[in-house]
Symmetry: C2
Subunit: 333 residues, 2 copies
Amino acid sequence: MPEGRPVSVVVDAVGGDHAPSEVLRGVSMALANDPALTVVLTGPADVVEPFTSGSSGRAQAVPTTQVIEMAEHPATAVRAKKDSSIVVGARLVKEGRADAFFSAGSTGASMAAATLVMGRIRGVQRPAIATVMPTAGPPCVLLDVGANADCRPEHLLQFAFMGAAYASVVLGVIGPRVALLNIGEEPTKGSVLAQESYALIAESVPNFIGNVEGKDVLSGCSDVIVTDGFTGNVALKLLEGSSRILLSQVRDSITSNPMNKAAAAVLRPALRRLRERLDPDTYGGAPLLGVNGVCIIGHGSSKARAVSNGIRVAAQAGRGALTEQIAAAIGDN
Amino acid sequence: MPEGRPVSVVVDAVGGDHAPSEVLRGVSMALANDPALTVVLTGPADVVEPFTSGSSGRAQAVPTTQVIEMAEHPATAVRAKKDSSIVVGARLVKEGRADAFFSAGSTGASMAAATLVMGRIRGVQRPAIATVMPTAGPPCVLLDVGANADCRPEHLLQFAFMGAAYASVVLGVIGPRVALLNIGEEPTKGSVLAQESYALIAESVPNFIGNVEGKDVLSGCSDVIVTDGFTGNVALKLLEGSSRILLSQVRDSITSNPMNKAAAAVLRPALRRLRERLDPDTYGGAPLLGVNGVCIIGHGSSKARAVSNGIRVAAQAGRGALTEQIAAAIGDN
């Protein structure tokens, strides 16, 4: 990856439960970590202007007058609030004034703004949300995790190309292995959607390793796992919920008496490191793939570290020309 | 539950990776735990007869001459091998000579035998496989976990009734709470299947608590969670895989240096108890619901404890008249 090339990322200063303070701290961290990064902040003038004045030119303010709240209907809000931090952010990328967009605000509004303002890449039928999961091996790109509850085989085929492009550009994987999430290993197993998708993907996706089952998702056997947005969303949220519950049960069971408590105290740093490794924040937000510009969506609960990682990922995607890579892969197939 | 009433369970003596030795050990454990239980063993004469001769009349042998191997095509094998331990087992229940059937052999063959030999309960469109999951609260019945990769809303409606009957009879839950697995909480969220199923279930299933998301599956917020067999199978296997990987990462991280190792040794019993609580074997196999007789399918890797728990569950389902309860619920709706 071309680390040192100048890149600019638009950041929605008022997106997320902990905005603007944690977002601004995250921006500072990202700027400190990457000397060739510049940030464009969208948001109310009284939030973005004081910050940029102290940034020695590497942060620029684009004041906006509207804010899209979490509870608003995404598409309606995006159409009505043309001067919101999210819509203006998407437009700056569309107009080539920035290389990528990051927001930890409403996922639906970011998706709607990216789709309506940036538009889809030529040939892409359905943009998809991807997520990068920690596994027992290298991290794995899972998509779609919720943009499309009902899918057709040709959508899953495009998800395969888009996920592979993301793994290559952002995770630096050469020739990413691509798998289809299914409920059996043989090509003839599973739903009609899975069987038809298998045939399509096997025909044209390089390094297709076939079906993987639920038990393989965290094994690290594949760099990209493709599924419909319903199954992918259930899987993602199940993993988030189950690792939280399992780690809390581990904590409860190892602190169940004074001697255990003492032993657990010794282990606290090791367990904290594990929790960090498993924390999705480490991987910095979910990309919306297939739109005509880089759009990275952070979790609403993002704190500074998650924001900083999201900006880093957005910068990597911008530097690596993710959008052009996806356009080329879709155009060729 | 009527604990003391006599009940008889047919056990496939040669089903599973560790058969017959672990199966027979499991039968002995089950007999020791439940004085009103009798077992009918199907399998080769040289396996089942020596065992039953030493069982003081509480185990009966029904020698069979054929064995269905794990790799055989289920329906074909069931049709061809009429004198196999699985087919004869299902027939004994069908003929009223036993109250329930348990096998840790080929899942597909047990399903095919139960469906073809016992038949479906009148009105049931699609039998479903359920599983009982440990959660942060009471255990939860998830179905379908793989019998039906493609479902229609009326199937999910029937799964709701069947799962509720199972929670009531086997887990002893009064008025089980039923939820639909979806990718959002509102009734209008999710796939077309989920939206249409929501409407149907809300109309006629008592104690329907609405949609739950992946993150809620292990929270214990519901006694029954309904989904299609594709999503359910992915979810089940994802949980199996992720808890194994997560616990092994906990083990690795807490034994990463000598001082941690000493602390970990103190915690070993607590972690072992946690692993047992999370072990699906504790909950004793997966019922095939909707067939005209009790059929409990054990994991192929079942050892004695899992077999014993599977037999216990089969006995409970037989005593609680699970089949009649499902027939009544389906007949009324």
